[in-house]
Chain length 254, copies 2
């Protein structure tokens, strides 16, 4: 199950040859979300479920995972959502999202060592807010490796690559299905083909555009956008997002 | 000349009472730009000149300042632009823009000690790109004080306040008068009334919206947006800017 098609691989349906990312939609690979009972994870699950994706919500508690999955199925009738222990969820598909608070990131990565296999992509959404150590959510902690994503890269098993994304999407915005999104997701990683696979998943959510923000080290900057937006949100009583101006209209990930 | 009207002060023209920022436009206080011969400074000068603002371009060389001023007058017939030594330019109005490269920031701040007076606002646009020490423009340097703007606050004379802004506006975009701007400027500073005065000037440029990004320490984050955008620009062959989504439409600075 974990073996994924490479970028160049295609499959013929009737008379048309489909590129890998179209194929992935057709076979409807699930999206595992480790920490999927949290606000960001649940919001993403809701949006992807609306887009027709099966979801594997992971939690430390199978019971809480099941409850979260039930809430999504209630909100999106017909959605395929299962609730699992994190390690089980992480085995469901090659691209795994990690949406836990920074306080729990290392613990989760330790626990995932047995579950993750070479070839998988871990999408780290962690932000080192000072709130993790009872500081302010408008400030951040210095991470020795440079960013939470680089810490994740150090901790995952060999052969697993880390992509950083989804730091600037407000959970309350995702959670309200009446809110139309219209913002960018900055994606950092060291291999363009891995970023492109993650970008395709992100862009299945209506109103999100994935932008190639550079190598994984750029997560040092992108993770800082969250405390910036939290600060702006408190001042403007909103849930702000980021949109880059001046980008060409063409598909950025071809 | 350096005494400015406070926020609450108003002046009666005929039958109408005008708030300070409207008054400032009427008396057309000039905008001093220290380092105004550089790409960012010259681009700002061009846009403000188009908006009808007098400009005082500062440079270490009066001759180069004069040449830069002549170029603006040529591009914007009737523009009031003078070219001066930096210290002279800085005395022209209460709000002074500093648009030099990080490599030259400390030297310029030392030189401005004699020129700046209590009550003035220094708008620092400096970004600590690693390019300052022959590194990459997609990476930044750690600044002991936390950000270039906080370094500036430490160096200006007592009573001068620093506001950080304009890090994400691409100089080539400003320089091309045919390009319509449509982006945000994140403004950091410790006093809202000072930020509001700077915001009013910034918003005189068509297509720029000034957003209150928080205290001066937030410049630690906002300054990092420049290497991020430089990296994105090289990948997408563009001059990207930032636009926040979800902000209310009302005037943010009332």
């Amino acid at each position: 199950m974990l073996r994924s098609l490479t970028k160049k691989q295609t499959m013929t349906f009737g008379r048309s040859t489909l590129p890998r990312h179209r194929l992935a939609r057709l076979v409807s690979e699930p999206i595992p979300i480790v920490g999927g009972t949290g606000a960001l994870g649940a919001g993403l699950a809701l949006r992807w479920a609306k887009a027709g994706r099966p979801i594997a919500i992971g939690s430390r508690s199978a019971e809480r995972a099941g409850e979260a999955a039930a809430r999504i199925r209630e909100a999106v009738p017909g959605a395929e959502v299962e609730g699992l222990l994190n390690g089980e969820a992480a085995k469901r598909a090659p691209i795994v999202f990690l949406t836990v608070p920074f306080r729990a990131q290392s613990e989760n990565l330790n626990n995932l060592r047995e579950a993750l296999e070479p070839g998988q992509i871990l999408v780290d959404c962690t932000v080192p807010l000072a709130a993790a150590v009872s500081g302010k959510a408008t400030r951040s902690l210095g991470v020795w490796q440079g960013s939470a994503a680089q810490q994740a890269q150090e901790m995952v098993p060999d052969g697993v690559t880390v992509v950083a994304a989804l730091h600037t999407i407000a959970a309350p915005t995702l959670a309200d299905p009446n809110v139309e999104l219209g913002e960018d997701v900055l994606v950092c990683g060291d291999r363009k083909q891995d970023k492109a696979r993650v970008a395709r998943l992100i862009e299945e959510i209506d109103g999100l555009r994935a932008v190639n923000a550079g190598p994984l080290e750029t997560a040092r900057i992108v993770e800082q956008l969250t405390p910036l937006l939290i600060s702006i949100n408190s001042r403007y009583k909103t849930h702000a997002g980021i949109r880059l101006t001046g980008l060409p209209d063409a598909d950025h990930w071809e």
